[in-house]
C-alpha cells in the first residue's frame, strides 16, 4: 500500500499558506510570488464562460494592479475580444506573452492585451478550484522573459496558492453554517442596527461588518438584509 510522501509539498511557503486568513494575507502570498519571479503585479482572474461578456475589472477577484488601471482598460477596450482571453479559454497550458514578440510576429495572438494594459510581459497560469471552476493567475511585469526553471516553479506555486485562496476566501457557499461572529452580527442586523453601529458595538471596523454581512447573504442564499433576517428567523438561526 502506498503512502503520501512527507515531502510531497514542493514549495517553501507552506507556513504562509497555513496561516493565511483573509484577502490581505493572500495578497501577501501572490505579491511575494510575483516579486520572486521578477514580476511587478499579479491578478487572479475568474475565467467564466467564453460566450459571456467579460470586464477585466470584475473578472479579477484579487489583484494588485495600480488603482484605476482595470477600470480604464474596460473603458477603452472590450476584454471579451481580447485574443489572450480567447487563448485562455482554448487551452490550459501555462503561457508567457511578451510585447517584444509582437514586433517580430504581429500575427501572434495575445500580444494585443499587453499593449492595451501597458506591460511588456504577462505570464498566465491556468488553475481550477476544487469544484472545477476555472481561474487564471496572471503576472505582469516589464522584464524581457522568465527562465524555464522559474516559470515551472511559478506555475507550481501559483496552483498551490490558488487552492488555498479558493478554499479559504472564495468558497463560501450556500448552506455553510454561520460562525459565532456572523450569528452575532446577524442578530444586531435583526435589531435594525447599521453597519457602523454594529462596528462600534462589537469593536471591529465597518469594513469587517460589511464583509461578514456579504458572507451571511451568500451562505443564506438571500439578496438583501430584510430577506436575510426573515430567512434567519424562519430557519431558527435567531429568535
Amino acid at each position: 500500500m502506498g503512502a503520501l510522501l512527507d515531502t510531497y509539498r514542493r514549495y517553501d511557503f507552506q507556513k504562509d499558506l497555513e496561516k493565511a486568513l483573509n484577502r490581505v494575507d493572500f495578497f501577501r502570498v501572490f505579491h511575494m510570488l510575483a516579486l520572486g519571479a521578477g514580476f511587478d503585479h499579479f491578478g487572479v482572474l475568474q475565467l467564466g464562460q467564453e460566450a459571456e461578456p467579460a470586464l477585466l475589472s470584475t473578472r479579477l477577484v484579487l489583484h494588485d494592479l495600480p488603482s484605476g488601471l482595470t477600470e480604464e482598460y474596460d473603458r477603452r477596450y472590450r476584454f471579451s475580444d481580447c485574443l489572450l482571453l480567447k487563448s485562455l479559454h482554448a487551452s490550459t497550458v501555462p503561457s508567457v506573452w511578451s510585447a517584444a514578440s509582437e514586433d517580430a510576429a504581429p500575427s501572434k495572438a495575445g500580444t494585443d492585451f499587453l499593449a492595451q494594459i501597458g506591460f511588456d510581459l504577462v505570464a498566465c497560469v491556468p488553475v481550477h478550484s476544487i469544484v472545477g471552476t476555472r481561474y487564471v493567475v496572471l503576472y505582469f511585469g516589464d522584464n524581457d522573459d522568465i527562465d524555464r526553471t522559474s516559470h515551472v516553479e511559478l506555475c507550481y506555486n501559483s496552483i498551490t496558492a490558488f487552492d488555498y485562496f479558493y478554499r479559504f476566501v472564495l468558497a463560501t457557499r450556500v448552506g455553510m453554517g454561520l460562525t459565532a461572529r456572523e450569528t452575532e452580527i446577524l442578530r444586531w442586523i435583526s435589531h435594525g442596527k447599521t453597519a457602523s453601529e454594529i462596528a462600534l458595538i462589537v469593536s471591529v471596523s465597518e469594513h469587517t461588518i460589511n464583509s461578514h454581512t456579504a458572507t451571511i447573504l451568500k451562505k443564506l442564499d438571500v439578496v438583501n438584509r430584510t430577506q436575510m433576517v426573515a430567512k434567519a428567523i424562519r430557519e431558527q438561526i435567531i429568535q
Binding site: N22, R23, F27, H31, D64, S67, L200, V204, H207
Partner: protein, 128 residues
Amino acid sequence: MTILHILLIDDEPSEHVILRRLMTKVQSFTIQLHYSDTIEAAVDVIGSGTPIAMVLVDNRLPPHGDFRETVPLIRQKGFIGPVGVISGSLDDAYFQSFQEYGVDFRLDKAELDPTAIEFLLQEYLVKS
C-alpha cells in the same frame, strides 16, 4: 484628489520616516501621514476629529504588550475604520487571532512597499 489621512503608531521614529517616504511613491492617492509614538497620543489624534481613514499600528508599543492590548483601546475610542498591525515578524501564534481583537489585516514591515499600500487603500477605502 481627496486626501487620505493615515495614522501610523510606532515607537520607532525611523519607521515614520521610512513610511512617509514610501507614501510619496503611491501614485493613485494623496496621503497625509500622521504619526504618534504612543497609543495614548494616537487615541488623542483619533478623538481630535482628524478624519483618520486607516490606522497602521506597530505590534509592540511599550509599556503595552502586543496588538491584543493596544487595538481594543483604539476601538474603544469609537474608531471604525480599518486597522492594520505591522510587525518585524508575524510568526507568533497569537497573530492568527488578529480578527478577534478588531484588527483588519497584518503586514510584515519588510512587505510594506508602494504596491502593498495601494492594495490596502483600494481594498479598504475605495471598494468598501
